[in-house]
Structure formats: C-alpha cells, structure tokens
C-alpha cells in the first residue's frame, strides 16, 4: 500500500471525508454509550438536547464556546507557523491572573479597567509563550515539551498565589481570589440573555485573525514559515522574528480566554477556572483545519458536546468523559480524513 497525491480532490472528497470522520465519531460515541448500558440513540439525543434543546442550553453552549474560540485561535495561529504551542492552558491562566490583579488591586473605573485588564492579560500570555519560543529560537530547545511543562509550573504558581498573597480574606479558607467589582465586569451581549461580551470579543478576534492571515504580510510570512522554513529563510523572510511575532499573537489570544472567563463569567480566579480549555483548543483548531472562522464553528460544536454530555450524564448513567473520548476520536479521524483529501491509498 502506498499514498499517492490527488491532484484535484474535488468537492465531494473535500466535504465528504470530514463529514465521514464526524459520522465515525458518532458511531464511537454510540458504542461507548452501549458499553455503559444506555441506549445510544437516547444518549445522543440527550446530548443534543442538553447542548441546544433550549434557549438556556444554547446560551450555556455559547458561553462555554467563548474560551474555546480564544484557545482554538491561539493554537490555530501557532500551528500555522508549525509552532507547537501546547501551553495555551498556562497562557490562559496568566491572562486570568493579570485580569484579577488589575481588576482587584488597581481600583480603576470601569471604562479604563476593562481595556487595562484585557491588555495586561494579552501581555502576560504573550510573555509566557515568549520564553519557550526564545529557547527554541536561540538554543534550539523543542517547544512542545517546554510549553507542556509550563502548564504545570503555571498551575502551581497560581496555587501558590491563591494560598498566599492573592488569597481572598473573606473566602472562608477556599483558595480563591477576591472578586472583581460588578461595574468592571464584561456586560451582557444582549440585555436579558445570559451571554457576556467575551463571546462578542471572541468573534471579533476570529475575524481579526482571519484578516491577518489572508491580507497582511505577517500572515503571508507565518504561512511561509510554517510550510517551508528553509525556503522562507532563503527568500529573506526573518524566520525567527516571525516565530516570535506568532508567539505574541498566539499567547495573547490564549490569555484572552482567561480574561473573558474571569471578567465575563466567574469574576474571580480559582484553580478550576479552566477544565483544560488550553488542551481542548488543540482539538478545536484541528477540527477547524486551522481556519480562524472555522474555529468559531468547531468551538461551538465542541462546547456543545461538553455541555450536552454534562447534562446527559445527570439524566443517564453514562459518564461525562464520553465527551472527551468522542472529541479525541474526532481529532484523530479528522487528521486521517484531511490526509485522504490530499492522498489516496493505492496498491503498488
């Protein structure tokens, strides 16, 4: 067996194969439900209902999608440049940390506080990714492992702060920070609906990233560096500088997830602020084929699976981890599907 390039994949191949991948994922999820002794159709039905069956459910899904859009964009931007940022989790927490620090310690009025928190978050996230990227660029240290390890270090650092200087004196011993004052939180997107401006910001960010990638020289440089760094360097593209810029962009986007969770939803910082949004961002980005606008769609889909599975597991005896397995499966099916849009398996 051998892979042979497909010169012109055609629309059927381009659309059919990814859909087939999603279909295969549904089959896997059904089998998992059956293993738990549940009726697969009922289980899937409950997941869909829990994700989009009511206005409340749908808004919950969009709220959950918000941080995933940011981390998904962060991963998509970095992976385009073949910069393996697996540290979105750490960057998210860095952003959340700065949001809380600015929001609770500076006493800025609302109009100033929100942009100040966002800016500080972006800077913090960018800096957190800058360290591994500088190690890569200057010393040749592989960024996959360093960004992964930074996730653990960052979480311990946050834990240290939550039990030390940032501990809420009124928190009854819980490791959490003080809450942001009401007036500097992100307002509702639409009055009366439980959906905050973080979602709006995420959509704006997606469009901005798309414009950067397709219309600017930086976007062109990022794609060139990702596809063939040797040719890019030869053509005079400053590869290392592009990687650093990509890191700043990616880290900043991931940090906005933390900002939006704190300022839009939770109000304070705890150690369970993110249930792995940084890692899930990888799935979101891959399912979107690294396309920034696709990230919005896939983030909403992924969030729906999580929200739906949570709701389903309250009703049926199926553990909520069915969502995690299904999404990891979808990721693997999807990379195979993408491969098969470009190559076909032939004999000999």
């Amino acid at each position: 067996m051998r892979l042979e390039p497909v010169a012109d994949p055609g629309l059927l191949r381009m659309l059919g194969l990814p859909l087939l991948a999603l279909g295969a994922t549904v089959v896997v999820a059904s089998v998992l439900a059956m293993l738990a002794g549940a009726n697969p159709f009922a289980t899937l039905g409950l997941i869909v209902k829990g994700a989009a069956g009511s206005k409340f459910a749908a808004l919950e899904t969009l709220n959950r999608a918000t941080p995933l859009i940011f981390t998904g964009l962060a991963v998509a931007v970095a992976f385009r440049a073949k910069l393996w940022n697996i540290g979105a989790e750490a960057q998210l927490y860095a952003g959340a940390l700065m949001t809380v620090v600015i929001g609770t310690q500076m006493g800025l009025p609302g109009v100033l506080a929100v942009p100040a928190m966002a800016l500080a978050a972006i800077v913090a996230g960018a800096v957190v990714l800058l360290v591994p990227v500088l190690l890569k660029v200057r010393m040749g240290v592989d960024e996959v492992v360093t960004t992964l390890l930074f996730n653990f270090i960052m979480l311990l650092f946050i834990s240290l702060l939550l039990e030390g200087p940032l501990k809420d004196p009124m928190g009854m011993g819980w490791p959490k920070t003080e809450s942001l004052p009401r007036e500097i939180r992100l307002p509702r997107l639409v009055e009366g609906l439980r959906l905050h401006w973080g979602f709006g910001l995420a959509l704006i960010a997606a469009v901005a990233v798309w414009v950067i990638q397709t219309r600017t020289t930086l976007g062109y440089e990022i794609r060139a560096v990702g596809l063939n760094p040797n040719a890019a360097r030869f053509a005079g593209i400053p590869v290392n500088r592009v990687l650093v810029k990509t890191a700043l962009l990616s880290g900043g986007l991931a940090a906005l997830a933390g900002f939006s969770e704190v300022a839009g939803l939770k109000g304070n910082l705890t150690l369970d602020l993110s249930p792995g949004f940084g890692y899930t961002g990888i799935i979101v980005a891959m399912l979107a084929l690294l396309h920034p606008l696709g990230v919005v769609v896939s983030a909403i889909f992924v969030a729906g699976v999580f929200v739906g599975a949570d709701s389903m597991s309250r009703a049926a005896e199926v553990p909520t981890y069915i969502a995690d397995i299904s999404l990891a499966t979808a990721l693997l099916f999807m990379v195979v599907a993408i491969l098969l849009t470009r190559f076909r398996l032939v004999r000999g």
Partner: protein
C-alpha cells in the same frame, strides 16, 4: 562482448515492462537483457524512465505489465527485497547509509535474521577486509560513516552489495560526486568485478563515461527503449542523438564583454559545518557582462560559496565588496536589495514552497516591497498580475497562477524561479546548479536566459557539477577543491583533463 548473448549467459532479463502514473507512461514496453561479465550502460536524460525502471526492478513499484527475470527465475512483482535476495545490488545516486553507524554496521544491516543474539562483528570485519582487498575498495571498517568522504561512502555502498554476494551491480549516476581521478578508480573496481563474472548496469547521462566503461548501451527516451548498440559501434554524437531524438543544439555562446567588477570576495573564509565544506580564503571577482563558472566535485565548498553570495551566510573572515563598498550587514534581504538574483541549488527545499500557489511563490522575495504590499497589507491583485506576467514571459506550463506549485514539473518550477529572479532586474545572478534534473528543453531555455542576462550586462556566477556545462557557458572558469578556489582561467585555455587535476586538489598553493 556482442549483442548476441547466449541464453545461458543472461543474468537479468526485463520483458515488456510498462508502468503508468495517471496519464503519464513512465515505462513503455521496456525490454533488454544483461549478460554475465558485461557492463551495460543505461543512458537517458532526466525523465526518460530510468528511476521508475529501477523502482520496478526492486519491487518498490508494481509494473502494470511485464516481467523481471533474474538467473532465469521470474521475480514476484511488487515485492521489495526480492531482487536483493536474488543477487542484485544497487548503489543509489543518493547514498543509503546511516551516518550514526560504523562502516561494518552499515554493511551487515539486513544481512542476518533480526532475532539473532549478536552481531558477529569480528567475522564481518574479516570478510569486509577481504572484499576491500579483492576489489580495490579501501575503507576503514570501524570508521563511523559520518566521518567518511563522498568517495569512501560510495565504496561502502559497493561493499554492501558485494557482502551480500551480489552478482549484478547497478550504479545510478555514480560519478556525479567523484573527481575524474576517483571515477577512474571506480572504473578499475568495475573492471575487476566483471573479470570475476559480475555484471554491471551503469546508469548515466555522461556520454564519455558510457563510452569509456560499457560494452553495450541501451538508450531510453520518453519511457521507451530508443536504441541498443554495442559501444564499439557508436560514438558520442550518435548516442546524444538517440538520447534526445534529434541532433541537439546546446547553446554555444560567444564570449561576453566584461565590464566593471560588481561583487568581489577578498580572502573570504567560512568554517566547515559538520560534513559541509567551508571556505578557505577565497578571492573572486564577478564582472558585469561575464559568466563566471565554478567547476568542481560537489561538496567542495560550492554550497558555502553560494550561501555567502546569496546572503544566507555572512563571511566569517575576509571582506565582501558589493558595488565598491564593503558589506557589513549581510542577509538574504540585504543580498536581494543589493541586486543579487538567486537561483538556489534545490528548487524544492529552498527555491519554492510546495503548498503555496504560483502567485505566492512569485512574490516570495519581494512581498515586502512597495510593489506588492503597503504598510503590512498585501496587494494580491498586483501579486497575481506579476505571477501571470512571469508565466507568460517564461513559458511556465501550469493550470494558472492560483495552482499550487507542487503540481508543476521540475522544469516549469525552475522557470518560475528563474522568472522571479530575473524580473527583479538583478545586476548579479547566482545560478547554483540551474539545470540539474531538467529535461533538454528546459535546460536549453534556462541556459539561454542566463546568457541573455549576461549580454544585458549582468554578472553571472554559474556553479555546476557538470564540467561540460561550465566549459560551454563560462567566460572565465574557477575550480573549487576542499574549500579553495583556483585562479581564473579564460574559456578555452584549459582541457577537461587539466581541470580534473585541479578538481582533485592539484595546483593549489596552500597559502590559505
């Protein structure tokens, strides 16, 4: 040795081999036989189907039709390793050695059961030493391949085949990486081998070598056998004609009219990097209206020289003078800004981005200039127009400017790269192996364009492994050996034999 080989003397017979890739027929009804103790040359230009044929022989591809017989046994199709087991050894153009292993380890790799307990190093070493002696293949069996020269590596490749008791040796362009003297040593080894009853298939496109070593020639053209002759009954011109189908008119330009010096290297040095040769105090002047040719066996510092001129590396010592001023900041960008047009050695790895469109590739070196972007915003309309212009002017055959460049043939890809470089109106042109791997049509086209650029006043630096090409096109010729550069020889003042001596390192004063 004659064309009428007795049946029992046939060691390898190909019959009716046909292989299609989509619309392209790479091998069309190819058939010939190889006799015991003979050197058979397989001649053909790039794209004639030689590589595909060898891949079928070794089971990497399955032929659509036809059979391979070795010592009377038909090989099962598409079974990698069957030819190897049947006693065929191949020395690839790109060596297949693991650099982290020793010579002995590379040779015994795959010759014993993987589930054996030990390697049997001592016995293997003894056998390798005996083979080295018998065939004149000097190499240290305990040396790490990483530390070997190109010539030594080739000897290891031949030893690999002999160690497996190969009775048929296939060598793919074996002299491309050798000095003329090393090539002679290789021919000596081949003569010893055939004297002991081995048979050799010698794949090449160098006519004089084919004439020198083979007894019989099979010429491939467009995937078919275009002719079969006994070497004694033919000559270089007839072979060339068979190879390309008609008398070819390679460009034979008159001498250029040299003008001022546009770029000068004064004692430029660069340390070696791993296996890559550095530069040892090179003096070189590139003049307007002149083609300066660099001859030499690859791996003797040509890449380093190209990197310095193209801006990839700044000189470690000495001075680089461009337009009369010594350069301080040197980068690909700086080189482009100084008017250096570059045709890189490897069009796939450095010259283009396979998954970019022709448009995106066309502006790779100029996207940041005012022509194609303003304040960080790309002007794709201008970029597309530019690509379309190159496609028309340089006759790039492609589906259109929005097609990915990976779909193009090597020749068309090279034309786009050539167009990209020349459209920037460079004063200095770095052409590093500009026609390697191209078919004859694209080859003449590229060469003619370089000559036209010279006549328009550009300084052209032509780096090539092909001595004939350098001799035909250059106004002045330098030879590189071990990172050193010979003095300039005017065209016509040197015979290939004398250049060969320089290529082997004779004549250099070791002042540097």
């Amino acid at each position: 040795m004659t064309q009428t080989t007795a049946a029992q003397d046939v060691v390898l017979r190909l019959t009716g081999i046909t292989k299609r890739f989509g619309k392209l027929t790479a091998n069309d009804d190819i058939g010939f036989a190889l006799a015991r103790g003979e050197v058979l040359a397989l001649l053909g230009e790039n794209g004639a189907g030689k590589t595909t044929l060898m891949n079928i022989l070794f089971g990497h591809y399955t032929a659509d039709a036809g059979t391979v017989e070795i010592f009377g046994e038909t090989l099962p199709p598409g079974a990698p390793g069957a030819a190897l087991k049947a006693g065929v050894g191949m020395v690839h153009q790109h060596f297949t050695l693991a650099e982290n292993l020793s010579v002995t380890e590379n040779i015994v790799l795959g010759t014993q059961s993987l589930w054996r307990a030990g390697l049997g190093r001592a016995a293997a070493r003894d056998r390798i030493a005996a083979l080295s002696r018998d065939f004149g293949l000097a190499v240290d069996p305990d040396a790490r391949v990483r530390s070997l020269s190109v010539g030594e590596r080739q000897r290891v490749e031949i030893l690999k085949a002999l160690y497996r008791d190969a009775r048929i040796l296939i060598l793919d362009e074996p002299t491309a990486v050798l000095t003329p003297q090393e090539a002679d040593a290789l021919f000596d080894t081949l003569r010893r081998a055939t004297a002991q009853g081995l048979s050799v298939i010698f794949i090449s496109h160098k006519l004089h070598e084919v004439m020198a070593i083979s007894q019989r020639v099979i010429v491939l053209r467009h995937g078919r056998v275009a002719g079969e002759v006994a070497t004694a009954d033919t000559d270089r011109h007839k072979l060339a004609e068979m190879m390309v189908g008609a008398e070819v008119a390679l460009p034979h330009p008159g001498l250029g009219t040299p003008g001022e010096v546009l770029m000068e290297l004064r004692g430029v040095s660069l340390p070696a990097q791993g296996r890559r040769s550095g530069l040892a105090g090179i003096d070189l002047a590139l003049r307007a209206g002149q083609i300066t040719g660099i001859a030499g066996v690859s791996g003797n510092g040509q890449s380093a020289l190209a990197d310095v001129i193209g801006g990839v590396t700044a000189p470690a010592g000495g001075a680089l003078v461009v337009a009369g001023a010594e350069v301080t900041e040197w980068s690909p960008r700086a080189a482009l800004d100084a008017g250096v047009g570059r045709i890189p050695e490897d069009r796939h790895a450095t010259g283009s981005i396979a998954d970019f469109t022709l448009t995106e590739n066309a502006v790779l070196e100029a996207y940041a200039t005012g022509q194609f972007s303003r304040r960080g915003w790309m002007d794709w309309r201008a970029a597309r127009a530019h690509a379309a212009a190159i496609i028309t002017t340089y006759d790039v055959r492609c589906p259109g400017p929005e097609a990915r460049i990976r779909l193009l043939s090597g020749g068309n890809m090279q034309k786009l790269i050539l167009g990209r470089a020349l459209e920037a109106a460079p004063r200095i042109i770095l052409a590093n192996q500009p026609v390697r791997g191209l078919d004859i049509g694209a080859l003449t086209y590229v060469q003619e364009r370089l000559i036209a650029a010279r006549d328009a006043g550009a300084a052209v630096l032509l780096i090539s492994e092909d001595l004939d090409e350098v001799l035909a096109l250059s106004d002045v010729i330098h030879v590189m050996s071990a990172g050193r550069l010979s003095p300039a020889f005017p065209r016509g003042s040197m015979t290939p034999a004398r250049l060969g001596a320089w290529m082997a390192g004779q004549g250099f004063t070791d002042a540097a």
